[in-house]
């Protein structure tokens, strides 16, 4: 077996309109793809343990729609939906994503699956239309330009060891 590496997802902000989420999985690519695109399986992980995923509809074809609804523990349900723009089975899915609480803030997501030594790296690049949308996505109260501060923060954190 391959030596276990750190499991946590990495979140970075490559530009003012983007969020990049990366994570490696100890599983072959077709299974990660399957878990990502099969409704019954999505229901089991997408809620992150924060609540129950009650709806996971997936029409996996270009132009096809998807919709997930989650009921957070003790909270009102939250819905997300979008449309598939590009599908390369086991490799790449490009899809729009709208958080139904902010219907105007549509993002374009690119999920890429890369093989490495029997493992799979999943990278989800979330492209927002504006920095304001991105920051709303990050659930912030920020006014302007966090990215440079975060770059700096990374340097600082690294220097603190």
């Amino acid at each position: 077996m391959v030596v276990q590496v750190s499991k946590a997802a990495t979140v970075t902000l490559p530009s003012d309109e983007q969020i990049l989420i990366t994570r490696e999985f100890a599983a072959p690519r077709h299974l990660v793809y399957g878990a990502f695109t099969t409704p019954d399986l999505v229901k089991r992980w997408w809620g992150a343990g924060l609540g129950e995923v009650t709806v996971a509809e997936i029409d996996l074809r270009v132009g096809g729609a998807w919709r997930y609804v989650m009921v957070p523990d003790g909270g009102p349900e939250v819905g997300f939906h979008g449309e598939y723009r590009e599908i390369v089975p086991n490799e790449r899915i490009v899809f729009t994503e709208v958080y139904e609480g902010i219907p105007d803030g549509e993002a374009l997501n690119t999920a890429t699956l890369t093989k490495k030594n029997g493992r799979t790296t999943l990278a989800i690049l979330v492209q927002h239309r504006s920095k304001a949308d991105r920051d709303a996505h990050l659930n912030s109260g920020m006014e302007t330009g966090m990215q440079r501060a975060l770059d700096l923060l990374e340097q600082v954190a690294a220097s603190l060891g």
Partner: protein, 127 residues
């Protein structure tokens, strides 16, 4: 978001682009106000004003260095910003931990010869 234009937290302090430039410069080493003014192409009073804001939130510390006051970065004060991003990271980490268990099961099913029903009928490789 109705955040008052005050200097009470690290978020506000770094919301101003010039202040972020100052932090960038101080990340490399100590600087005097005059140094900073020259590097940023700003007047010294403006730089002093920004430094005061950064000092109020603790992002910048100062010491007497001979004739000059030398400013340096205090990264710890930016911690709230780090924590803010980490919230998002935690959600995805929790999500992916669940995905790990799903994937383990799927692999087990494959090893067992695909007898499991869940997920098999929608195996993407067979679409």
């Amino acid at each position: 978001m109705a955040r008052a234009a005050t200097t009470t937290d690290a978020f506000n302090a770094v919301a101003e682009p010039r202040r972020r430039e100052i932090l960038d410069l101080l990340a490399v080493g100590e600087r005097s106000v005059n140094d900073l003014a020259r590097l940023l192409g700003l007047a010294q009073p403006q730089v002093s004003k920004h430094l005061r804001v950064l000092r109020e939130v603790g992002a910048v510390a100062v010491r007497e260095g001979g004739r000059q006051r030398l400013y340096r970065l205090n990264g710890q004060a930016l911690r709230p910003i780090h924590d803010w991003v980490s919230k998002y990271e935690r959600t995805w980490s929790a999500r992916f931990e669940r995905l790990d268990s799903v994937l383990e099961e799927l692999q087990q099913e494959e090893r067992d010869g695909g007898t499991g029903e869940q997920g098999r009928d929608r195996d993407p490789s067979q679409r």
